[in-house]
Symmetry: C2
Subunit: 338 residues, 2 copies
Amino acid sequence: MLSERRLEVLRAIVQDYVGTEEPVGSKALTERHKLGVSPATVRNDMAVLEDEGFIAQPHTSAGRIPTDKGYRLFVDRLAGVKPLSSPERRAIHNFLDGAVDLDDVVGRTVRLLAQLTRQVAIVQYPSLTRSTVRHVELLSLASARLMLVLITDTGRVEQRMIDCPAPFGETSLADLRARLNSRVVGRRFADVPQLVQDLPESFESEDRGTVSTVLSTLLETLVEETEERLMIGGTSNLTRFGHDFPVMIRPVLEALEEQVVLLKLLGEAKDSGMTVRIGHENAHEGLNSTSVVAVGYGSGDEAVAKLGVVGPTRMDYPGTMGAVRAVARYVGQILAES
Amino acid sequence: MLSERRLEVLRAIVQDYVGTEEPVGSKALTERHKLGVSPATVRNDMAVLEDEGFIAQPHTSAGRIPTDKGYRLFVDRLAGVKPLSSPERRAIHNFLDGAVDLDDVVGRTVRLLAQLTRQVAIVQYPSLTRSTVRHVELLSLASARLMLVLITDTGRVEQRMIDCPAPFGETSLADLRARLNSRVVGRRFADVPQLVQDLPESFESEDRGTVSTVLSTLLETLVEETEERLMIGGTSNLTRFGHDFPVMIRPVLEALEEQVVLLKLLGEAKDSGMTVRIGHENAHEGLNSTSVVAVGYGSGDEAVAKLGVVGPTRMDYPGTMGAVRAVARYVGQILAES
DNA sequence: GCTGGCACTCGCGATGACAGAGTGCCAGGC
DNA sequence: GCCTGGCACTCTGTCATCGCGAGTGCCAGC
């Protein structure tokens, strides 16, 4: 077990390194922090911390920098979540309140988060899996061509074209529309399949083919759209990465372009509470020198999606976590209201 | 006027510089290209080209690199558009054919373009300005709450919530829906306002308020959505920029994050034919060291939106132009079919 | 267990020498 | 008049050297 003072030394190292981007030595530490001991003592502590793998020296006789393990300890035991300043709070409200639709909410959120944390922000669209159906609409575009529109409680709209096997009259259409809605409105996506299972049977035989087609398209949409979408922003903050960034930035940009990678990244985050993944804790290689701070957000108690930021392992964890949490909460509220 | 050979020298310089990324000297030129003259002669030609401002030397006694003006001449007079290879053509078809909806088409296009050109791709969503209305749908969500869904011929769907001033019956709703559609379906957005102008008058006085609200929301949607959306991709290709890229890349990433900037950028491109903007020809400062190749695309003869790529001024213009044009054509076809 | 002192290591920046690439110019040849 | 070969010059990039400063590890003493 590490003594109280050693932890204090680690905290000081992390804080200074995050601030200066330069390896921090024993003398500088005692000057900037009131540790109440001499540099020599700090050196001994540092030697221990290095043995334990919490810090490392880039070269012999340079200062120390925290390792991933060091950051981990810092996040878990030494750092709290820094609450936002009230101007920052106000900024969140002002910025998000003007949103007109879901795309807008997500877009604003991503920009806001990037700006607050000065890092790359990722916001997942509210997942359809846990959503409920607000409305299903069927439109007749041509005699044998329908359009299916699905509206969710999170304000998302999906549409699909349907080519019917046979012409489908307006009355049948109205009938199907009404029955469909009475069964699925307010229900969760997951429950829809069994709720509509027997619908075709109640129609005239000539219409059954079309009804089945419509239903299968609907179910397909539900499944397909569970593949979530997301939006990212603030990539220009990557230039803040460090001096050696040409080599670091490439794999990160590449990872950010792969939606699949990002979805997996967010997926790995815990459903509730904040998740911080540091450096090599990230499964994806390209992100081995980055940290990810992610949290779920949702309109009710349940998280419907996640959002977070990606930045250098050398980041201001308390501040970042504070911003991420605050934004997530407020987005949740916005969604609940709309 | 520049002699034939001088132009040939310029072409050789551009080609070599694009290939090697290094200032090209007279000796290297005569070795790699069969100019039929000695290095000394080429030196004289280079001196002239430099006087005219087509090439420059980074430092005294270094090789020459093309200036923006040099690239301009190259593009205008020396380079054709390189047709794609047939594997590339096939790739386009394979890649775009599987698209299921508009988002998907745009998403695939942007990825494809980034991959083909190895540069940053920008694809504008088909503009609603020149689009026509395929269908307008009105749904009643609650007694005094409606949802308006607008479907365009390019497959785009927009929805808006409407809070009615007074409850609105199902019959009135069906009535409004029918009349609205009979008037606007197949019409251009620009024509819609006058087509629906007198609609409220034909309704009962108690419903007029709601009808007006619906109409104004519809018109608002038409206008608002003329602010076009776009999608970008391939930002990791920015790392290919050059050696001095840390300083170049930052403003570019920043510019790419500003949709407004990009829309203006595409807006500056000619409506028909391909537009190439080189270096300082771009109005936006951050893009002064990049070139933009853009072209309109559309489902019919008319361009409904634009797409293009952003890359270093030192880019393979013929190849890039070929790829951009080919992709634009094929996307146009896809849109026309759907 | 903390502290001050001391010798040692190592990275970094400045300096200078050097090779290589490229230029401009000039005199001579076709 | 235009092209060519030759030559002197300039500049960059690289490499080795060197001294400084920061930082460490260890040890003896309190």
